[in-house]
Amino acid sequence: MNHLSDKELLEVLADFPKHELTTIQRTEMLKTISEAESFKPKRNFQSQRFAALAAVFILILITPILYLTNKSEDKTPRTGTVIKQAQEGDYFALVDKNGSHYVDSNFGIPNKVSLLAPKEWVVWDNRETRNTMVFLWGKDIKSYQYINIEATHLDTGIKSTFGVGQLSAGMYGADTHALVNLRIFDKRGKWNLEFIVGNTSGKQKKIGEFTIYVKDHYVLLGGNATLLISQEDLFAGFYEDATIEVYGENLPDEIELEIVNEDDPSDVSNFTFKNKTDHNTDDGKKYSLYKGDFQIKKSGKYSFGVMGDSNFVRVGKPTD
């Protein structure tokens, strides 16, 4: 026999060593799943109505106090409000008895809080951070059950909840960790990320705060495709191994990135993107990623497009 048939390959693969969780891991995980169930409010209508009435009553009581003290914590501050930049975060390795982990992606404040950061934070993008890991340190951290991440945009003062998650066991030298589903940023610039832990009794504690920089959005190539390079990083030059993401079904194995100079429509460049990989989002949408190189000869106004659809793109100078 000098080659594997389809059937033989399946038989060999079926004989590969099997891997499974340990009993402890399995028990912990079942606990987490059952805790996820308890996150849904289970109060019936009567108790909800009672809670609503109580809230109105409390509001009536505290309104005069709020009016007199006027210590506003509005989510959108008044004109002239200055939001101070928080502490600068930094990349650092998570260290445990098995060595160092996530040396180039764990970002935050050592011995306080960190998260697995993307290579770059980009407006409208959560491809890399849809689910990320947050690590926390602290003596009493284990008495808390959840984490809230509040994000404040420094230029506008707009504040929003950026992510929530359940705290789990310690990992990679941190006292606890959480898988957090992060929201997207809708504004470029600096954002303060504030990490607050809490428990079901309502007790909360701020663990730390640091600043990140969010780049302008990726280059859009019509309605269904995106060149995964931030608009603010697009200058004249040669781009190697760039990625284009295209949503849709039955997409071709190769696509052409067409770059048209808006000032001189006869100046058209085409670049082939291939090495297609197919993916599905959790809600069943299909998309493919393509790899390729391209070149922009000079700064100016361009139209970038694939598959007959395009968008206007301004290619700046590095000094812009």
């Binding site: 969780l21 799943i33 209508f45 090495n275």
Partner: protein, 182 residues
């Protein structure tokens, strides 16, 4: 609200049941898909995602197929822009000389010949690797693998056929045959 809460609880019980039933399949698939045994968080996230997305499960596929599909997406998201395959490939490319079997495979495999086969699978292009792992490791049928990848059954069969052909060529180049074919 009581009804909603009841559905919520029922959903939780169903996911717990599936966890007990399919955890091994999901874990095993993720280990070979990512090339690491450190998949605990990915497994947990897979089942939490299944819990959150339960209303979208419409019995069009089996629970196992649905969970493997979520596991694959979770791994892709977790390992960010670069696909797992690319990361593995980069690591494999860094290995020298070429015939040396990478550390990851040695850790995963008890038999060296299996490690070599796994290494060769990891060198295939992403679609080939995907279809081989879904058919061989997750032990899904062509129809089920198609549901995970969003492909027709025919496309799965054709891609699998081509993947096996390419794998044989690679194995031949590496002279691996004698080690695992009797």
């Amino acid at each position: 609200m009581i009804l909603e809460g009841g559905i919520w609880l029922e959903r939780g019980h169903q996911i717990e049941k599936w966890f007990i039933q399919f955890e091994k399949d999901v874990t095993n698939y993720l280990v070979y898909y990512t090339g690491t045994t450190d998949v605990e968080d990915l497994v947990q996230e897979t089942f939490l995602r299944a819990f959150r997305a339960f209303s979208r499960f419409k019995n069009e596929s089996s629970p196992k197929t649905w969970l493997i599909s979520i596991a694959r997406n979770t791994a892709i998201d977790f390992y960010r822009k670069k696909s797992v395959w690319q990361r593995l490939k980069e690591r494999l490319d860094q290995e020298s000389p070429k015939l040396h079997v990478p550390q990851t495979e040695e850790k995963l495999m008890r038999k060296i010949e299996y490690a070599q086969l796994y290494g060769a699978i990891n060198e295939l292009k992403p679609n080939y690797r995907d279809v081989i792992l879904l058919r061989g490791i997750a032990e899904l049928s062509s129809l089920e693998a198609g549901q995970v990848l969003g492909w027709s059954e025919n496309k799965v069969n054709v891609t699998f056929f081509r993947a096996v052909k390419k794998l044989n060529e690679r194995l031949k180049e590496g002279e691996y045959f004698e080690s695992f074919i009797g």
